[in-house]
């Protein structure tokens, strides 16, 4: 039968089959995500049913519980405060530094070693930073303060920011600044008026990645936060007690925490791969 089909029809058939395969695969792959979403709309009885209930009357009970839970709001506020501060401080320090490191005219001698130091922040596991900082913050009684966690998050964000921004600055041709300098701009003006605006999208992408990192960070928060500074990832823990896990509240919190990240990812779609590979792959 198929031999009677024209070239075009055969091509279309192939396309449809391929689409079906991808659709099936996506469905299977995304099952855990769908399951999470379903759990967040289940009532307490249904979430503990066995065999598991695939269809139950949806309820907003879990979301209402999360929202009316004053702790959840505190965690969100903590997460926001920490992520925004870490991200801002990180960018203020990283952007100018990255600019210098991207221009051979300004680079100091031995910038190779600086770059190696920057890259090593991505390689060294977080646990290595945790020990000295924990001892240090404990001595200064800074455990369970926002500032200590902001500093910890900076250990990742700063290096990442410098590396990423450098890759963006390298894409901006030096000729532009040079002509501005000849026209009488100071070095600083050439940076702030010419290069900075051009680097806008890169700065946005880097900032969003930094925010995302801080928002989801777990290890530092686990070790350094207490009742006053718990962040959202630790807030998820609140639904877990020794006797049982409140699956509804837990999944609803997870879904709510996902929202800002999804929105951000929509914004940086173009810089996504670049951000994930520290500028090594330009999408």
């Amino acid at each position: 039968m198929t031999s009677n089909l024209t070239m075009r029809q055969r091509k279309l058939l192939k396309k449809v089959i391929m689409t079906l395969i991808i659709a099936c695969f996506t469905l299977i792959y995304m099952f855990p995500m769908v399951w999470t979403l379903m759990f967040s709309f289940k009532n307490k009885v249904d979430s503990l049913a066995y065999p598991p209930k695939f269809f139950s009357t949806p309820t907003l009970q879990n979301y209402i519980e999360v929202w009316t839970n004053s702790e959840f709001l505190t965690y969100t506020a903590n997460s926001l405060l920490i992520a925004v501060s870490a991200c801002m401080i990180g960018m203020v320090l990283a952007v100018p530094a990255a600019y210098i490191l991207s221009r051979s005219a300004y680079k100091p001698k031995g910038s190779k070693y600086i770059l190696f130091g920057v890259l090593s922040t991505r390689i060294v596991p977080q646990i290595t930073f945790t020990i000295p900082f924990f001892i240090f913050f404990r001595k200064l009684h800074l455990i369970d303060t926002h500032i200590s966690i902001v500093i910890m998050h900076l250990t990742i964000i700063l290096g990442f920011g410098i590396w990423m921004m450098r890759s963006y600055f390298l894409d901006i041709p030096y000729d532009l600044e040079q002509s501005a300098l000849i026209d009488g701009c100071t070095y600083f003006q050439a940076f702030s008026k010419i290069v900075f605006p051009l680097a806008g999208p890169g700065i946005a992408t880097t900032a969003i990645f930094s925010f995302n990192y801080s928002w989801n960070e777990f290890l530092y928060a686990l070790i350094l936060t207490g009742s006053r500074t718990k962040t959202l990832p630790l807030g998820v823990y609140n639904w877990v007690s020794y006797e049982s896990i409140d699956y509804g509240g837990l999944t609803a919190t997870a879904i709510l925490a996902l929202i800002p990240i999804v929105i951000f990812y929509c914004f940086v779609q173009k810089g996504l791969v670049r951000g994930m590979t520290m500028g090594a792959v330009k999408g």
Binding site: M18, P125, F129, M278
Partner: protein, 302 residues
């Protein structure tokens, strides 16, 4: 006279550049040194001491003693081996799966953009939430995975609660969460292979498999290695998922090096011992990362 003036001007320019350089670069590098380099040095320093946190006065210098006792402790050696096995399991699966998905998404099927948008969601999920979700699914009594097995007539499994299954079960979760990263990177790489090359090859009579092996793969080799590099680093460091899913258990069946380090420093409060272990983990990752950078000819400085 004229020459002197010129030299003065150059000197002035140099001074201006130097001032500009250090006002811009100084603060960033200073903070980086303070919060990144110094702590690493401090961890190395601490690793030379026998330091039990509640009793700082009993601190005593032991040289490389901590390292020596680590390398004679079977539990440490096992966790080191487990980290390597875990890394290999996760990165291999992710690479194969990620490349497969990327190929599907670059085929001419309908709605590939939509599928791509959906398939990327797992990386955005807070690792903690994803790990808890899988814990629910892995539950031996209430979990949906064992329910599926039951429907298929297969014996229920212990998953993360079984000594032999714990590590692979964690690997499944990490793979699930991180494969989208591989997909995105490979996808970008595959899109950069120009249609003309492929068309030319097709005209020359190359089969689809030839095009994949002889043209697409070699062309995206650098991208391939970058993806593998980052995933390898992250998997070797991996802490969040393991901590939520098993805490290294049952017993120490899924205890990787980062969990071992965490347990020794913040569980047993043996800061010196923990520091030594952290340094070994760092060196371990450094060595593997450099090998991958060399093998793939990755050039970050471009």
């Amino acid at each position: 006279m004229k020459k002197n003036k010129k030299a003065d001007a150059v000197g002035l320019r140099d001074r201006q550049i130097a001032r500009f350089r250090w006002t811009m670069l100084g603060p960033g590098i200073f903070v980086l040194f303070l919060i990144n380099i110094l702590p690493i040095a401090d961890t190395i320093y601490t690793s030379l001491f026998d330091y039990y946190l509640p009793m700082p006065q009993d601190q005593r210098f032991v040289g490389i003693g901590n390292y020596l006792s680590l390398f004679t402790e079977p539990r440490f050696l096992q966790s080191l081996g487990r980290t390597l096995v875990f890394m290999l399991m996760v990165v291999t699966t992710e690479t194969i799966l990620g490349f497969g998905i990327a190929l599907m998404l670059t085929s001419n099927a309908f709605g590939t953009k939509l599928f791509r948008g959906i398939l990327i969601l797992p990386i955005m999920l807070t690792p903690i939430a994803a790990a808890f979700m899988w814990r629910i699914m892995y539950s031996p009594t209430l979990g949906v995975l064992n329910y599926f097995l039951e429907v298929l007539g297969i014996e229920p499994q212990k998953w993360i609660y079984g000594a032999e299954q714990a590590l692979p079960s964690i690997a499944v979760v990490v793979t699930w969460c991180k494969t989208p990263f591989m997909v995105m990177v490979f996808y970008t790489g595959l899109l950069s292979v120009s249609d003309e090359i492929i068309e030319a090859a097709t005209i020359d009579g190359a089969s689809a498999l030839d095009i994949l092996w002889r043209i697409k793969l070699p062309l995206i080799k650098p991208v391939f290695f970058v993806a593998i590099l980052f995933q390898t680093i992250d998997t070797a460091k991996e802490f969040d998922y393991t901590q939520i899913l098993t805490r290294g258990g049952p017993g120490s069946a899924s205890e990787t090096l980062s969990i071992f380090t965490y347990l020794n420093s913040f569980g047993f409060l043996k800061m010196g011992y923990g520091s030594a272990s952290a340094i070994i983990l760092s060196v371990f990752i450094f060595v593997i990362a450099s090998l991958i950078i060399k093998a793939g000819g990755i050039d970050f400085d471009k």
